[in-house]
């Protein structure tokens, strides 16, 4: 086992060798877990810059753990993760907006935390709200928004960090189907417009097939990568269309193969 290491930009590949995320034989064991049960074991994953990858698996297979490791919220027990000096944004299933701040205040706080000068706040917030199609929501408070609107604001707040890598942890899992479809369109549009690298965790096979350039299938105990599927469909895709459905069926079969 090698020592955990986060490689800094100094050690990053020279320009021309562009990459988004590189995960090398990463293992993670939680201190309180029973002996021998690793949350993650021997995970290798390379995501190219600008790629949209869906990370699919049942609950408990370590998807969220892998995401937290890449975000730097936790450290791997073994292996290494390289993300260069790129800023990483993260979204969760709950929008987690700060309830004491308005929508504008939430986004401003993110700007402040990433060192944007105060003089630029107004223009940046307006631009971000525009890009998640909530141009008039600035003065509202989180509890006055619907679930979908909250996730839009959370997306704007994440984008406020000017991140190049976007990690999404089942961000639309709590939304109704129609709102979720709309959020898929928005996510895809923003990914394309901004040239982001997206890693999208989900347990929904259709969602994975709808969004991913590539779907990485994970399996539990220990959490590991089981297989990959290149989706290879033109965008925009219809989540109810036959093409997505056939990919989803394939993914579904792969999920069922594994031990339950």
């Amino acid at each position: 086992m090698s020592l955990p290491a986060i490689v800094s930009a100094d050690q990053a590949p020279k320009s021309g060798e562009d990459w988004g995320i590189r995960v090398r034989s990463v293992g993670k064991t939680f201190a309180r877990a029973a002996a021998g049960t690793a949350a993650l074991d021997g995970v290798n994953l390379t995501i190219a810059e600008g790629e949209f990858v869906a990370l699919l698996g049942r609950s408990g297979c370590g998807k969220s753990t892998l995401l937290n490791l890449i975000a730097g919220l936790e450290l791997p027990t073994s292996g290494s993760i390289e993300t260069g000096r790129r800023r990483i944004g993260m979204m969760f299933q709950d929008a987690n907006l700060f309830p004491w701040l308005t929508v504008r205040g939430n986004i401003e706080l993110a700007l402040k935390l990433s060192g944007v000068p105060r003089a630029d706040f107004k223009d940046r917030v307006d631009e971000l709200l525009e890009s998640v199609r909530l141009p008039d929501a600035g003065s509202l408070r989180p509890h006055e928004l619907s679930g979908g609107m909250r996730q839009r604001v959370a997306l704007a707040r994440t984008l406020a960090q000017d991140c190049r890598i976007l990690l999404m942890d089942e961000p639309f899992g709590a939304l109704d189907a129609i709102t979720r479809d709309a959020m898929h369109d928005e996510t895809e549009r923003i990914w394309a417009e901004r040239g982001l690298t997206v890693l999208f965790v989900t347990h929904n096979v259709r969602e994975a097939a709808r969004l991913g350039d590539r779907v990485v299938v994970m399996a539990p105990s220990p959490g590991r990568i089981e297989s990959e599927l290149i989706v290879n469909l033109p965008r925009p895709r219809m989540i109810d269309g036959p093409a997505v459905a056939s990919r989803a069926a394939e993914l579904h079969a792969r999920l069922q193969d594994g031990p339950r």
Binding site: M90, N96, F98, W100, K112, S114, H143, R157, T158
Partner: protein, 296 residues
């Protein structure tokens, strides 16, 4: 709530529009009157009930009138006190003591709360002591305070601070402990850490619990202060508590009860202020009142 906007009706429609505006205004006034009545009537009726019960007991002659006066006499004394210089001097002394004592308690309680919530060692050392202090009746401190400081302002302030600071510290500690973990995770993902995390996320999230600690701290401060003013009477410095003592010695029940009324009203006013603040903060966050959450 937005006021009804009248716009600028054209000349032809002016009469009709004015009529519509008139009826809209009337409806609004009626709604306001109903809401005001719903707020004011129940407590008013309760007060009237208490007063009439008191009047009945007075009329029944359970105690002689100089021991238990009629409500009207007490209210007259209350009104008369409002124009006496001595009353205002006493009131000022008491209020200054209250604000100084409570202010010190806020500073000390907040400081201790911040330290304890930030340090595991301090928490295990004095965490339960703070809770213990909260349960200690503050009047039990007075003999000790009088020995330490004599019959002085310091003795009173000492006990007021000891009465209020633990509640304030505990409010802040539980507020900080109960910041929802998902908010902390999100804040860290946004790059907040250390003091910035405290200043922008932890403390704002802890504000409602801190405020209820302040409110409870005020109640303790006010009680400790009244106990202190009864026990620690400083010559030539009249206060509300000292007045109570004098009125008792002169068997002036009407004066005594009118002073008690002042003490009750002051306590209620400050408590009402805290309640108003915390209701506003809760409503802004979409917590608490049904009306706020129903709007979503």
């Amino acid at each position: 709530m937005n006021p009804i906007t009248t716009g600028a009706p054209g000349v032809a429609g002016a009469a009709g529009a004015a009529g519509a505006v008139g009826s809209a205004t009337r409806r609004l006034a009626a709604r306001l009157a109903v809401r005001l009545a719903a707020r004011v009537l129940p407590p008013l009726i309760a007060v009237l009930l208490v007063l009439s019960l008191w009047e009945v007991v007075f009329l029944a002659g359970w105690r002689p009138p100089y021991v238990l006066p009629a409500p009207a006499e007490v209210l007259q004394r209350f009104a008369a006190a409002l124009v006496e210089a001595k009353f205002w001097v006493s009131l000022t002394t008491t209020l200054i003591r209250a604000f100084v004592g409570f202010g010190l308690a806020v500073l000390i309680g907040t400081g201790i709360g911040l330290l304890v919530s930030g340090s595991r060692v301090l928490r295990s050392a004095i965490g339960s002591l703070i809770t213990g202090m909260q349960t200690m009746p503050s009047i039990a401190w007075f003999p000790f305070a009088i020995l330490l400081f004599g019959l002085s302002e310091q003795a009173i302030e000492f006990v007021v601070v000891l009465g209020a600071a633990p509640s304030i510290a505990n409010g802040l500690i539980s507020g900080i402990d109960e910041v929802p973990p998902p908010l902390l995770r999100t804040a860290k993902a946004l790059g907040a850490k250390g003091l910035v995390l405290y200043r922008h996320i932890v403390l704002p999230a802890a504000l409602p619990a801190y405020l209820s600690g302040l409110k409870q701290g005020w109640a303790f401060a006010w009680r400790s202060l009244m106990a202190g003013e009864l026990l620690v009477i400083i010559a030539s410095r009249p206060s509300l508590g000292a007045q109570l003592q004098f009125f008792r010695e002169f068997a002036d029940t009407a004066g005594l009860m009118s002073t008690m009324l002042v003490i009750l009203l002051l306590g209620m006013a400050v408590d009402g202020g805290f309640s108003y603040l915390s209701r506003r903060i809760q409503a802004r966050r979409g917590l608490g009142t049904d009306r706020a959450s129903a709007r979503g």
